[in-house]
Amino acid sequence: MTPEEILQSLAGRFGDKVASGKSPGNGRVFAVVDREHVRPILAHLRDDPALAMDMLSDVTVVDHLRLEDPLVRERFAVVYQLYSLRHNHRFQVKARVPQDDPSAPSVFDLWKSALWGEREAYDMYGVEFEGNPDMRRLLMPEDYPGFPLRKDYPLRGRGERDSFPQYRPPRGAT
């Protein structure tokens, strides 16, 4: 199925819970939904035999701090990249996540690959995924204070790269 057909079948089933977005780059359409509805919609995308999205390629987050999007409206959007091995078609779903409560439901029980994807998204953007059994940082040090891919985070960090104990040679060393 083409992305347009997938979006149409989603709109037929979920009505106005699904907004349709269009990428200005490649012109491909995707679905934008509220985070309350993202789980039933993703479960439908996985379980409907005509859609059969059996693979979650990636979970990422977009920070819309300086990129106002009338469809997303909120600061963050969780992006689910879906792929169907059976039908060889792809689809993207975006879920709106507000700034004052950056959290989204986990889809780990639908696709196991969400475990690390959600951990990376949490690591970089601070969006917590409720229901993920292992919500720790994936790449940054465990005690890192910030979320570096947020657009209000400075590129050079906030001094984390300079705060290490200096090596002091033991007494009597040359």
Partner: protein, 151 residues
């Protein structure tokens, strides 16, 4: 000393320190800390075309307890820096450090939140090698500089 008068040219007198330093500087055992593309140049330096064993430093030891020259070749992230310090502390004295390439020496082009801007902020570095990555000849030159220091 009087001993030469008896044995003549067939005998040389020296100190234990001088002999040990001479042996040590001609048999440096490097600890490679290769995290990026500089490590590829380090491999080239070690292999047949450049052949670091001509200078006695071909015995790469992946255990810090058996090595006395650390070659930091590559980017050191803030997650890796505690590991680097720990490995350096595990090396027995005397020990030397080569900071190979732009990233290890100054952060290079990666002026970002996650990269240590020069390992010399936290470790004593003896020889810096410029370049991105440096050519094998530069690493050989750095090794010869270390041999000058290590007496």
């Amino acid at each position: 000393m009087g001993i030469e008068k008896i044995f003549g040219q067939s005998l040389i007198t020296t100190s234990v320190n001088a002999v040990v330093s001479w042996a040590r500087k001609n048999a440096l055992w490097p600890m490679p800390f290769g995290t990026a593309c500089c490590a590829i140049e380090m491999m080239a330096t070690l292999s047949g075309r450049y052949d670091l064993s001509r200078f006695g430093a071909e015995v790469i030891r992946f255990s810090p307890r058996q090595s006395d020259l650390m070659i930091v070749s590559g980017r050191i992230s803030i997650k890796m820096m505690p590991v680097l310090i720990k490995i350096y502390e595990q090396m027995p004295e005397p020990k030397w450090v080569i900071s190979m390439g732009a990233c290890a020496s100054s952060g290079g082009v990666f002026d970002t939140y996650t990269l240590v801007q020069g390992v010399d902020q936290f470790l004593p570095v003896h020889v810096y090698i410029p370049g991105c990555p440096p050519r094998p000849e530069s690493l050989i030159d750095a090794l010869l500089k270390i041999q000058e220091i290590a007496v």
